[in-house]
Homo-oligomer: 313 residues x 2
Amino acid sequence: MAKICFGIDVGGTTVKCGMFTTDGTLLDKWEITTRTENGGENVLPDIAATVISKLRLKGYKDEDCAGIGVGIPGPVMRGVVPVAVNLHWGEKNVEYELSQLTGMKVRAANDANVAALGEAWKGGGEGKKEIIVVTLGTGVGGGIIIDGTIVEGLHGAGGEIGHMHVDDNITALCNCGHSGCLEQVASATGIARLAREELALHPEYTGDLRTGEVTAKAVFDAYKEDDPLATRVVNRFAKYLGTALANIAVVIDPEIIVIGGGVSRAGECLTDIVGNYYRSIAFSSCANTPIVLARLGNDAGIYGAAKLVLGKL
Amino acid sequence: MAKICFGIDVGGTTVKCGMFTTDGTLLDKWEITTRTENGGENVLPDIAATVISKLRLKGYKDEDCAGIGVGIPGPVMRGVVPVAVNLHWGEKNVEYELSQLTGMKVRAANDANVAALGEAWKGGGEGKKEIIVVTLGTGVGGGIIIDGTIVEGLHGAGGEIGHMHVDDNITALCNCGHSGCLEQVASATGIARLAREELALHPEYTGDLRTGEVTAKAVFDAYKEDDPLATRVVNRFAKYLGTALANIAVVIDPEIIVIGGGVSRAGECLTDIVGNYYRSIAFSSCANTPIVLARLGNDAGIYGAAKLVLGKL
């Protein structure tokens, strides 16, 4: 019976690697460089080499390993990536190729979905099987877990919460080509944009956000000090996000909602205010669904990748 | 090996019953009265009696029957109804009680979800496993099918699409206690409400909707004749519904979207205009997801109930 498995989180500059017991204890983690030259041809061979080398180094045999899970920065449908710009890949059958290179079972999925699965397994959603995970970083990503499994979707777009349409009045274009997306008002860059809007609307304001750098972190820091402009920005952000989460909740009625990503480092003041708006809008059956912070930080990807190859929650 | 099964769609006044082959051919359908007196104590015994009687009448043995699926007008969680107002029920374990009465396997779920499963199995979504079904009737209901299974949700609120929040400017209360719900602008009553709003806003209008009864059917009939007020109403309806569907699609990325219910009798002019708004807003990966009309009409519930007991799509 297999004792260990690997969780691999592939990024555009580094590949995060984890070796886990099959019950989810992280035994070792390390990183290798993502070599994207020549169409990213080395990425999978490098992963194969580091996994095999770690397995040997720790004295395990191939049959001790349940397999390798991989998170990829791009859409993934049934193990196949149609294109992954950051890795310089065109279409690539990740599961087949890495399995050929290692002789092991391989499962691959989108990195945001995999990170969501990690939080579901050993993070903020631990013990639950029906989960919304939303990740507030440079963009807004997420993952939907139903019956212990990632909702991948026909085109790999499952959990693309950041591109829910939330406001007709936003004219600036989102990276997706539309406008009015949740990402434009709830990501770190979106929160900074809302703050710049409020600064322009309120010339009388002379607080910290007028003089310092306008970032999501600065906004939440000022919010914690009851800064009036930051309070307006955080309320706008929280209303958008709370409404979007209520609209997902009434469709899938999850057990828990987990908020992660860099913006979530603001802490419980964030889940508190998003929760207030959520509860004011959510369908009564779902109004008490807990909204909690993610717990695994940057390790969510390797945890989720490991769980991907181990099977459903 | 079982040859047949029963699909039962329980309503507040009648119980629709169907006998099916296990591959989905409807062999017989009939109705019985829903006896709601005395806390609805007769409802399940009446179903048991009609099923057993039909089985005997057609010359089948108990072992020929794969079981009984039941759609219930109320939330259902793992076979248990917490309350079903229209049946005068408090908490009732439908699967256990009906199984005790018949000796057969029983599966129960919410009627809107069951109707969605019917459309997924033998209706507009036939052959697909990841489906959004939205039902535009007096209210707006629906069902989400993921991996061939209904998303029931923790509180039985899965697929309650009608209570997505779509407009902050609506002040009238929805039946759910909130305001701004999709149901208030996309149900038959909601469309009539939008028409009355437009009539008040446009005193110069003297067309059919000024003189006749203002119903969703009248609005769509006038829309087909290029009536300007009806065109405004249908565009507002279609923008709301198209946006809501785009926001669900980017979360679960389905294979197909099916629109049913009385309002959908307007036909392809409805899916055409909803599709136009949907495509203008949907995340690029999901923008070409087909939007089709439901096909089973009032039989969706018995088909879906039958499929419920047969297992996933």
